[in-house]
Symmetry: C2
DNA sequence: TTGTAAGCGTTATCAG
DNA sequence: CTGATAACGCTTACAA
């Protein structure tokens, strides 16, 4: 069917010019002046003969692959596909392509897959996770520039781009305070990185508003609906219960909804709720729809690509802000 | 730092053998007999000198890239990352790599991205979508083998692998019948492909059980919680209301929960609910946890890779079965 | 069983 | 402004 792929030689021969000329035209090299007429003819022949450059040959000759490796556990998670989207968009704008490798969330990083990426000569490596966690990469990773997204290198070797959890916690709490609440509970998640920041932000907002921090209003548990339910139930039963809940994750908020409902409380009239993550499927469909903090996934993905392309240091330890998505629960 | 990459020549020279010998050993070519001792020395040198094959050079020489293109809108969806996982696992087992390109769910297929994949010389193309829909691919796609996953080619040019919706509908309904229900409502979604099959399965199950199909119990709307809520509300108000609901999506089931709750009905005691999709975040965290039909995403992803590698026709129009995930709602 | 040499399809370096 | 010619790092007949 495909009578043989047409090569650069074919189009050069077809036009009676040299291969270099064709190459120059196709790569639009501005450092070399080529007659407009020649260019036109080259492009014409290209589309006429149906020529398509051969990426591997190009890489071999130029020793540039324009390939970026993205190792991640997010493809199989309901979460943060935004990182892929953002990274890919940024890469595409630079003529780069992502080689995405999805790994299990527990395997910190599969060596064989990394080895494969290096054989493909990726020119940079992004390591992204669904949850904000600590990771450790195989030594081989150091052969190319590396940036972590939404995770931190426990060995301290690579820069990482993570959400500004403190700011998120602050924003959520400020929002609640702005609506007149003074007794605001924090139903936090246990996980180290995200929890600590969210809590600091929560405390800062209260402090700034001159509200005393009541330790009885701060609890934590696993990041799921079950824990959200149990913790909320407990906290609503206390004397002098909160009028607002800031939940560490949307899933916890999901559980909080059930607990509130069972306690006969209306949302947001009797108790306001703010979540965290903006997991669309949960947040948008809860009734009432959940007000929550969105994480800057796309932005982080794009920033990672930019970091790989430019000044790595500019992004080292850099933190990116999410934002409040106001719906009906607070 | 990296003093210069070590090439095959380097290790050949280091060992005093020819490059071909090294190549044969590294590719473990069984059609050529090489002294065990030689093999050992080669591998030793490889790890000692830190040699890593150059994929592009290899592709150029062998005209095999071992690259498969995966164009999809699922990366940015909460859905079906399983397709990626399954496809990648199957590809990896064959020494192949996926070049994943994520596109917006509305763009049926971006031509520029496809062009890029073809320049990279992908040896096959998988086009996968989050929802079971109809799509149309650019002509250029036909230059390589193509399989669609979870979608169907409206132009009828390519085979596709889709879930067996009829079987899913049948399974869900059978389950409800098995629990003694006879008045089972179908809160279906509107979308063409998935809805029709689920409905046929529902009807077949009823027919087989000798239960009359009551048109008043079959309704449909958009695939979200809002519609699920409204439709359920309406159907529960009818005289002789159903004792069980089979919802076209988990999100619709989410809405159904709210409607049932507001009607003062307990799940599953007063009304049983079965969903569809097994969107973990919804299904597992609803209270009570939702019994639902899981779609065979990983299986479809893997099947696509296999189809691309072998007999395409064996998979043409092939349909894969999902399964019931029994939780607490029915 | 191992070596030689000719590509694979580009880019890059120099002359012209 | 254009054209030879040598890489790029590997696979693969074909010889030895």
């Amino acid at each position: 069917m495909v009578s043989r792929r047409v090569s650069m030689d074919d189009i050069a021969r077809h036009l009676g010019v040299s291969r270099s000329t064709v190459s120059f035209v196709i790569n639009d090299r501005s450092d070399i002046r080529i007659a407009e007429e020649t260019k036109r003819r080259v492009w014409e022949a290209v589309s006429e003969l149906g020529y398509r450059p051969h990426a591997a040959a190009r890489s071999l000759a130029s020793s540039r692959t324009n390939l970026l490796g993205l190792v991640t556990d997010i493809a199989s998670s309901p979460f943060g596909g935004g990182i892929i989207t953002g990274a890919q968009r940024a890469a595409w704008e630079r003529g780069q392509v992502l080689l995405i490798v999805s790994v299990d969330s527990d395997a910190s990083a599969d060596t064989a897959m990394l080895e494969m990426l290096l054989e493909r000569r990726v020119e940079g490596l992004i390591y992204a996770t669904a949850g904000h966690i600590g990771v450790s990469l195989p030594d081989a990773a150091s052969e190319v520039p590396v940036v972590l997204v939404h995770c931190e290198d426990v060995d301290g070797r690579y820069p990482s781009i993570v959400p500004d959890e403190e700011h998120g916690g602050y924003t959520a709490t400020r929002h609640l305070i702005g609506q007149g609440h003074r007794r605001i509970a924090l139903i936090n998640l246990d996980a180290h990185f995200p929890a600590d920041g969210r809590r600091s932000g929560y405390e800062r907002a209260l402090r700034e508003a001159g509200i005393d921090i009541d330790p009885a209003l701060v609890v934590s548990g696993s990041a799921d609906a079950g824990a959200g339910y149990a913790l909320t139930q407990r906290i609503l039963r206390a004397d002098d219960p909160p009028t607002a809940l800031f939940c560490g994750t949307d899933r916890m908020a999901m559980g909080a909804y059930d607990a509130a409902r069972e306690a006969g409380l209306r949302i947001p009239e009797d108790v306001a709720v703010v979540g965290y993550d903006d997991q669309e499927i949960v947040a948008a469909y809860l009734r009432p729809a959940l007000t929550t903090i969105a994480l800057p996934f796309e932005e982080m993905g794009a920033a990672a690509v930019e970091a790989l392309n430019g000044d790595m240091d500019a992004f080292a330890g850099s933190t990116m802000r999410g934002w409040l998505v106001e719906r009906a629960s607070a």
